[in-house]
Amino acid sequence: MSSHDPITLEIIQSSLQAISDEMFVAMRKTAMSAIIYEVLDMGTGITDAQGNLASSGAGIPAFVGVLDKAVQRVLELHDPADIREGDIFATNDPHFGGVTHLNDVVLLMPVFHAGRLIAWTANIAHWNDVGGKVPGSMSTDASEIFQEGVRLPAVKLIDRGQPNRALMEVMKANSRLPDFLEGDMWAGIAAVRIGAKRINELVAKYGVETFLVALDHYMDYGEKVARQALKSLPKGSFSFEEEQDNGLVYRVRVDISDDAFIVDIRDNPDQDVGPNNACRDGAIIAAQMVFKSLTGGDEITNGGTFRPLQVLTRRGSVFDAEERAAFGFYYEVEVRLYDLIWRCLAPHVGGLLPSGHFASICGTVLGGLHPDTGNHYTIVEPQIGGWGAYEGRDGNTAIFSGFHGETYNCPAEVAEARYGVTVDRMTLSDEPGGEGRWRGGKGIKVDYRVRSDGSFLTVGYTRSKFGPWPLAGGVGGSTNYVEVLRKGGGCERHSIVTALRVNEGDVIRVVTANGAGYGDPAERDPEAVRDDIRNGYITAERAKELHGIKT
């Protein structure tokens, strides 16, 4: 260690972050689907030769957390002699290191120096349509993974620099949007190749030994930061159980000691016969994100950060589903687990975690024929919603769930041009809920007016029956749901629906929850209440009822 200058190690670390960012930009600039280039439903990162995250990467945190696990699975499945310079592996299947669902394709490129494997560059992105029983590939009533699209079992998409054309043609032939699939696939290839090239330049500049020491050194530092933070957490055993919208009860137990943070989720329902399952790696990611929130949100994150974390799962349970299970809505299962661990610990960790947020991806898939071009379009969009309040501050309004992190909602202009829908409204939600001494942030209301007959809508929202949970006597938040307002009159409310037919003139209203409040509403600063009334965040009647304030 002592022979390596700490400044150089720091430069290498910062370079790895910059390379992840450059990979991210390359993919954004070349992709063909708005879910990638606008929403940024993607992530990029770099691991060491063994598949440990070398930097915090770029993009959705729950996606960056996939990349290390995918590399480790490729290493398990392939003879080292069969992993060669110029190769790019593809996986999208939880059984083969894909972690999430078939729509999220992971591309992985080994990086070599003088014949020695020294790192991996990787990306993951949501591809709009990978086949399966419904457009957009995610079906709320799929019962087997075979109904959800083409499975890519960690195979070579590129072999020593040569594209595997046969595989590419099979993938295109299975997609309803083959041109987009091809464009997004090559965007991902560009990202990992550009990352590998930059790593080679870095190694050429500083030497391979220094590069490798920098990776190890920084992971050890990540572990040190996490262990230090762990020491200041309350010690003991914490348990919690919570009923879900679908009637199931999820349970968690967290044991925190000076040197370990153990999340036990073995006592949970058997895997779902539908697509509401997570794989073990996915459950680990949910636990990693809460662990990260507790052990230094602004500090570095890498493979070392998570060394004190252990996750105990039961094979065949909803959090460790076995092969053949469908995974289309894995993210709602993982965000539920993430929120469950959060809720379990929030009252005990001295303000580190705010009260509950809308905590659903609120994935909304709307597709059909573009009224202007006649081409098929598919909107795949996560939604923004309200966050929970905490002591001293109101919750954030209209941002993505903690699970989804650094993404953006699609601008109305882009949605209208690309998808041929009209965005009638994009406002904050005016529903009650989330009041407190500090109030939760507001959810949103968005109206999409459909312009062509025979379009379809698929959604899978949670926190639709049981809204976000409050702390310290606050009021719970509102709920997430979709309303379909038919042109001829009539209105249907949905939170889980697949391929619902919608026609020209129908309006799809997306409503997301307000975050939950913190503290007794009667104690809210009267000036803040008057401000809320002026801003339309609360009605005068409700303000009088909850806060005892007259205008």
Binding site: K29, A31, M32, Y37, D179, G183, W186, A187, A190, I194
Partner: protein, 209 residues
């Protein structure tokens, strides 16, 4: 800065398929060029710069259909023909592959035009500065200690740059202060002022290393 030509950048967005062998697609490009170049000439004319003094560089903003971001490709001078656009398409594929490691066999889209209109204006002629016979000592306004990092701390001469004149020679450690910038002369380096007032600094072996 005072020596450069006048330059204006014009941007026009005009979405259309980029198909060199389709007449209406070619016309979109030709119309966009005519529109921007006409506008540029008119604007220069209002400043008494004749049309024949204005030179254009035309860049097409292009992408593969369905993409969001575009790449700028040089459009050759001359009338917009199939050959000219074929050449631009080849250039697009090459440039795209250089930047992003691959090319696609997919339709191209014209996103718009970026035109650079440059008008040459009369250049200034640099004049030889008069020599009054002042010595560097006259230009030296003070001395102070300066930390040159690796070269250590040294008492250094501070010069008023406005009082320097051709043929003066002096050595570092020194600092030359002018209204626009401050020039640091390391110990052992040698400064000579040329006929136009430029500073020539000859580095010593120590500074080069």
């Amino acid at each position: 800065m005072m020596m450069t030509d006048l330059r204006r950048d014009y941007f026009l967005t005009r979405l259309a398929p980029f198909d060199p062998h389709d007449e209406s697609a070619r016309q979109v490009v030709a119309d966009a060029i005519a529109e921007i170049e006409g506008l540029a000439r008119d604007q220069y004319l209002q400043e008494d710069i004749a049309a024949d003094q204005v030179k254009f560089t035309r860049l097409a903003k292009m992408r593969y259909a369905n993409q969001e971001h575009s790449v700028e490709v040089l459009l050759p001078d001359g009338t917009v023909t199939s050959e000219l656009l074929d050449q631009a398409a080849r250039e697009f594929h090459e440039q795209y592959e250089r930047e992003y490691t691959y090319r696609l066999d997919a339709p191209l889209e014209f996103v718009g035009l970026h035109v650079i209109a440059v008008a040459e204006v009369g250049k200034l002629t640099p004049a030889i500065l008069p020599v009054t016979g002042r010595t560097p000592e006259v230009a030296r306004k003070s001395r102070r200690e300066i930390d040159f990092a690796l070269a250590g701390k040294h008492m250094s001469d501070i010069y008023d740059g406005d009082l320097l004149e051709p043929a003066m020679i002096f050595g570092g450690p020194a600092v030359i202060e002018t209204a626009g910038s401050t020039v640091v002369v390391h110990p052992g380096d040698r400064v000579e002022i040329d006929s136009y007032g430029n500073l020539h600094i000859e580095l010593s072996e120590g500074t080069k290393a």
